[in-house]
Symmetry: C2
Subunit: 529 residues, 2 copies
């Protein structure tokens, strides 16, 4: 009885789609009965560890993605290597349409952030994907994967139709490293094409696929790979599938990203840990030096005090500002869920905060131990990892240099390696700063023809308003597509915003995977004429 | 040939001792041929893990110490329990001298600081004692323990005399947790008495022994144990054997200690870790809040800025000041070895720094991860462990309260537990502060008769000047002996100052163990008449 009502509802909800949306309806009818099978493959994919610092793990993932493409009849599936030794290959594939003059290339990345399994919730393990009825921090319960035989498909009237989508509730969460960031991109892109192929819908354009393996590391060799394979990668636009959707759950298109660069800063004290009683007040404490140094960098409204930090910022255009104004402010809802009383800079809106300004964020800070592991000592060193997000106009090297100059101006002798004993004995304040390779921000104009076509395609997959975002807060090396290939990138994220991406307990809500397949398929079916 | 010269030297060096020092000479002749055997027992003792938070480990150590006493014929050897459930017992023993009216009681502790084995040098393990030819950070090499058969005692003319002291070089280091702090105290006290017994020297006073098991935790139940067993523990003075000797290597008597209290302070951000791009500049960063808060606590000359922090300090007396002035400043030598360019407060001498002022020291600070383990996130919390050393006049509760009041004055809502969601949503700045039990400083007058007798006894064991220290920088709950038992404590430390006590790579130099036996035996032989 209950199932019949749901079935009826599904029929009704598809019939109310307009003619233009026939293709979307076909895609939906194709993926709905296959959710169980799709999820099974995804769980297998997520079970392959993919931490950014482990080349061997990443190679295994790359080969797995090649196989995923071959299974779907995607042509020319292969690894794209860089010449740089140790570089992790990208994965490429293509579906060429006879007579087509236009091409879209779809991007996602298969590498993931490092994991600290001890920090994950009980019952979770980063590379043993696990279903839950809801987010664990909102009362969700872990559940076993339904087995094929527990599905009614084998025994009921729903066989081969909506069965699996009934059993796999859309609001369920799948917990694993990269479940959201960004194997979800690989998964939805490849299954969007697969649904097109299965339903025999005919793309009017060439489709290319490009999956990177070094995104979390800062895409160190992406420029080289693009350069080396520039003919193969010719396209009218890159469709980037990464990062979270709008907090409201509305579908979203994003036209830019912030840039990013990280640095590690270590301050040194005595060469060995000292008893805090026998040496306390005399031996310098590197943790106290570090906190005093970091405190000079921000005021109590979150404004960075490093000279020139905001000088290079290119302000939003009028149309970008208008798009921003049209987006409802998600801050109150998010703040409630995240449980904090005040934003870092209460005078800025959420979007202004994350789109219009560069950041200086403490990713982590460690000196000796705290709590039960703490000893009564003066530590030998204190380290902070800083994350600098960049907006259009910032240059990543220039931004790091501002931080270095500021540290120097506080009286620090700055090195890019450990100090020698002689240096320790000569300079009271020594800072070792190691900056990772970074990259700049990028913004594509929302007024390009391809921008408008993508907006139209995504709109066709949803009854709701589409959120048009001039830039994301997050970072991808999208400036490379413009600089190396002269091709505009446009981002179409598919995963829920509360996915704990980069932290512990990363997860994706299942419904976002299925919706993502529809969104990406609609873009693949764009007709430029 | 070489051995013969050394043997001759030993004979000469003992014969130049004055008549008053005959007893010391006898003690030396007794312990010298037994170094190998003494060290074997000490290694066994150090192999028993004794971390302060593990009651089971500590009970095993306590029983081991009882057995060490019984082996040496010490009477009434037993555990002294507190009534408080979970309290770790002290270990007691006594040697009563017929007709004696005076009593000295000797104190050390058998518990140790927590260990983080990952931080110990390669080849070391906190509870697998290991010999090295010199400190490892000064080119020392790990060496295997000599086996009994490798000793010439079994086959040469040195059998049963100096052999073991020849093979066990006095400058060697023994690495293990508690090797210096403070199983060295237990070891030297019990072997000092053993040497007296073996040489049939007759103490003129009663000797009592008291070994605590909760010192590193702040001696939580020591007051109760003293109170409960006050009759048993009657004495004219407590001789405290803990902490390091003077950096010059000179023998030292210390007449006071700083007090100590620890607190853990945690600052909270969003309830889950957030992507630093998608939320950076908007979500509050608890690590940045914490560093800004800590930076308000100290100026760049190490002066604590918390209101009233130095108000209660009782200045040194004229005679204490004179004693201080007589001690050569160890700072230049130590600074060279520790390799830093400037003391925290360059306008104070080393001794002024550690004796005359309370401290506010960062023992450790942790928020998320750094370096290769770092993720691009905004952490959920940031924690610091602070150590407050106290001087005479400070009250530990009052001192903690000053810190709490200061944090409150910076706009923090202060709790002693995790905040609720409602509190998180109401208060922008939340600090959870948990203070451990602390204790106050203590100072015994250097002009008491017993003070003078101890000075005289120690002087008799050394050709060098004795360092008389009005107070140590380190902490012991010595105020309890005065307050509960009305008995003055006097400290006679025996271990080398560069022992890494409390940190990783803790060690003791062998010669300090042998010298300590002589020092303590001399005190046990004090004659009050």
């Amino acid at each position: 009885m209950k199932k019949s009502i749901l079935f009826l509802f599904l029929i009704l909800s598809t019939t109310i789609l307009s003619g233009q949306n026939k293709a979307v309806q076909a895609i939906r009818s194709d993926h709905q009965p296959r959710h169980y099978e799709l999820l099974k493959e995804y769980v297998e994919f997520l079970s392959l560890p993919n931490t950014m610092n482990d080349p061997e793990q990443l190679q295994i993932n790359a080969r797995y993605v090649v196989e995923m493409m071959k299974k779907r009849g995607i042509g020319n599936a292969r690894l794209l290597e860089a010449d740089t030794p140790g570089a992790i290959p990208a994965v490429y594939g293509e579906v060429l349409t006879p007579g087509a003059t236009r091409t879209l290339i779809f991007y996602a990345h298969y590498d993931g952030q490092p994991v600290n399994p001890d920090k994950w919730a009980e019952g979770l393990s980063p590379f043993k994907p696990q279903l839950a009825t809801a987010p664990l921090d909102k009362g969700g319960q872990l559940i076993d994967f339904p087995t094929a035989s527990s599905l009614p498909s084998a025994k009921s009237e729903f066989r081969g139709t909506e069965t699996s989508s009934i059993l796999l509730q859309p609001q369920w969460r799948l917990y694993a490293r990269a479940a959201a960031d960004d194997k979800a991109g690989v998964f939805t892109i490849l299954n969007a094409y697969d649904a097109i192929r299965r339903t025999k819908l005919a793309p009017k354009i060439n489709l290319k696929f490009f999956f990177e393996g070094e995104e979390e590391k800062g895409s160190t060799n992406l420029g080289e790979i693009l350069e080396k394979h520039r003919d193969l990668l010719k396209a009218d636009a890159w469709i980037i599938c990464d990062g979270p959707m709008h907090a409201s759950g509305k579908k979203q298109i994003t036209f830019g990203v912030r840039g990013d660069v990280n640095l590690n800063l270590t301050i040194f004290g005595a060469k060995r840990p000292l008893h805090s009683g026998n040496y306390g007040n005399w031996a310098p404490n590197p943790a106290m030096k570090l906190v005093r140094l970091l405190a000079t960098m921000k005021d109590d409204e979150g404004k960075v005090l490093i000279p020139g930090f905001y000088d290079d910022v290119v302000p939003l255009s009028t149309s970008e500002r208008a798009a921003l104004a049209a987006i409802p402010d998600p801050a109150p809802m998010m703040q409630q869920e995240l449980a904090f009383a005040e934003a870092e800079n209460p005078s800025l809106s959420f979007l202004e905060s994350i789109i219009t300004l560069p950041t200086l964020n403490i990713n982590g800070i460690v000196s000796a131990n705290v709590g039960k592991l703490a000893s009564n000592i003066i530590p030998t060193m204190a380290t902070v990892t800083l994350d600098l997000r960049l907006v259009k106009g910032n240059d990543h090297k220039r931004q790091v240099q501002k931080v270095v100059d500021h540290i120097r101006a506080q009286g620090y002798y700055v090195l890019d390696r450990e100090p020698t004993d002689e240096e320790r004995l000569t300079h009271p304040n020594i800072a070792t700063i190691r900056a990772a390779t970074g990259y700049n921000a990028q913004r594509t104009s929302m007024d390009l023809p391809i921008s408008k076509l993508v907006i139209q395609a995504v709109k066709a997959t949803s009854d709701q308003e589409i959120v048009l975002m001039p830039s994301a807060g997050g970072s991808l090396p999208l400036y490379l597509f413009e600089e190396v290939l002269n091709t505009p990138p446009i981002s179409v994220p598919v995963v829920n915003y509360d996915n704990n991406q980069h932290g512990e307990n990363e997860n994706v809500q299942l419904s976002f995977l299925w919706d993502g397949i529809e969104t990406l398929a609609a873009i693949m079916l764009i007709d430029f004429k």
